[in-house]
Symmetry: C2
Subunit: 342 residues, 2 copies
């Protein structure tokens, strides 16, 4: 009740007049006589006893913590994932410890070293760039790791990813159906896993529909942020006038929206816009943003469950899960282009 100093099993045992083993048993719900249970409970209550997590961890070899490492905490898609992972693992008594990396592969390698100190029981990692070195370290890791995002072929690690090639395809298909022909693409850095995949998806989808890809119709933002998106959109618009733009994520799309309206053009009247990730900001945007839902929350949940599974069964077979994308249609892409209308 009152600000107890710090009681341990021994203190409780003394007060209850039993052995420390009995205290431990009672507190862990193991069989004990009513008399013992009662006295232990009372003693523990009186002393304000709280079991020590560190000591328990050392003994049982589990920290009840899961580490999460994502590249960009500023990106709403990661926030949503973080939230979901936290929710899922909490149900199994795990806490979430955040390990922010700058997106550089080296940061992630450092993290792995650190992880091996055993401050967490497992890791969920969403790397932006996957180097050979990183892959090598990943395989060597002593504890369970689940990767969110694509991995090179042949890498046998639990992993859950989105089919972003198909995702971009959905966007292009939708825009084409609305009668758009000049479909540009604002991508993030091409040397990232999502950047490369989304570019591939764009090119394939355009080819499939026999839409011509104007050389000036693709630009790359220096990273997946709003700020970089502004620059990229400026550079795109100043050299080419599309009637639609697919953006590699929602932040880039919102940036494009801003640049477009700033130029006196309208969305979707002059230029239709589709983002990716379907984050909260797609809903907030004005007009609201059509976006490819890559199942971020579903991926997060799947990753968390995969990790929990492996934590409970280290020998389980490696599992790779692909989440299918779907399109969330909102205002930014509806209707034909104004030019076509008039």
């Amino acid at each position: 009740m009152a600000m107890a100093k710090k009681s341990t099993l021994v203190l409780v045992a003394e007060r209850a007049g039993v052995s420390i083993a009995s205290v431990s048993r009672v507190l862990n719900g193991l069989p004990a006589s009513d008399r013992v249970v009662e006295s232990v409970r009372a003693a523990a209550r009186d002393l304000g006893y709280v079991p020590d997590a560190t000591a328990r961890s050392l003994k049982v070899g589990k920290t009840e913590q899961v580490a999460l490492a994502v590249a960009d905490v500023g990106n709403p898609v990661y926030v949503a994932m973080m939230h979901e992972i936290s929710r899922v693992i909490a149900k199994d008594g795990y806490r979430l410890v955040l390990s922010s990396t700058g997106g550089a592969a080296q940061d992630e390698i450092d993290l792995l070293d650190n992880l091996n100190r055993g401050f967490a029981d497992g890791l969920i990692l969403s790397p932006l760039r996957v180097t050979d070195d990183l892959v090598a370290r990943l395989r060597e890791s002593r504890l369970p790791i689940v990767i969110i995002g694509s991995l090179p072929d042949g890498v046998e690690l639990d992993n859950v990813r989105a089919d972003s090639v198909r995702g971009v395809g959905l966007a292009v298909k939708h825009l084409a159906k609305q009668g758009r022909r000049q479909i540009a693409f604002i991508n993030g850095p091409i040397d990232t896993v999502p950047g490369a995949a989304r570019l591939g998806g764009y090119l394939r989808a355009m080819a499939k529909r026999e839409l011509v890809v104007h050389p000036d119709a693709q630009v790359y933002a220096s990273d997946f942020t709003f700020k970089a998106g502004l620059e990229a959109a400026e550079s795109l618009i100043s050299q080419f006038t599309p009637d639609a733009i697919v953006c590699a994520n929602d932040l880039l799309a919102v940036a494009a929206m801003k640049v477009i309206t700033r130029r006196g053009l309208s969305v979707p009247g002059d230029i239709a816009l589709v983002g990716m990730d379907d984050t909260d900001i797609a809903e907030l945007a004005n007009p609201s943003l059509t976006s490819v839902n890559l199942g971020s929350v579903a991926r997060a949940r799947a990753a968390a469950k995969l990790l929990l599974r492996r934590l409970n069964d280290p020998g389980a077979p490696v599992k790779q899960i692909v989440i299918e994308p779907r399109l969330t249609i909102r205002e930014s892409s509806i209707g034909p282009a104004q030019a076509a209308t008039s």
Copy 2:
């Protein structure tokens, strides 16, 4: 190098031909002969030895972890704070463990119990609602706690808060200067600390400028989210037509922006808009959103440093820091109302 099974001090000691004490010393940089240092280093490297964090924690009584509990992980302002705190404490070797609470005081009390298990060395807490019970538990806590947000008078806890009364004042003053007279207010729940403070600020600022507060000019969103903001804005607009609205945070403001434009009105032409928190979305919004910067990042940094200070010096005097607000003016509030212009 290769996937070492799991080496401990003893293993390293054996291989190096010294005692475990020497290994411990070398690895912690304590004085030792060159010969010993060298052989230990070599052995450790060969074995891929990594010290165990849990064992170290148990021994030294420190986990090197700081817990952070915020009400709503979905709110960008908390994300920004989280990020900053993580950055600051990482420099001192601390990790961040996330403890999401639902915003209910009971969740926070549960968290405190949990904290006393010692999985972290300290806590940074930003409670939405401060009950007497919570305050009582806060005082009893065995480990250092820093509160972000206002506390009842007389509660002696390290704490850093924003002067949101003045913050709202800045917003009202700015709008009044632009010639707006019918300044409405969209608040969050009134039973929260920020909700209560911001309402007070609004009323005081309006009174100070002798602006009349129409009874229908204030509405309360059921929480500080975009969705709740839509409802609140609808209900406001349908009963009253202001020429400006101050919103208790950016999410509510963006929601209001959407409702306003959906009605065919313009921002800031018909209605000027000011948000609070000055989060990323203020920049993204279209038009960009004028917002009261409550120094979220500064508060986060101050809180982190306060906690680190107390961790290093448990006897330090309690410190309470107030961060001054400032206004970030953007497009949503610039210029006179259209009616006034025409």
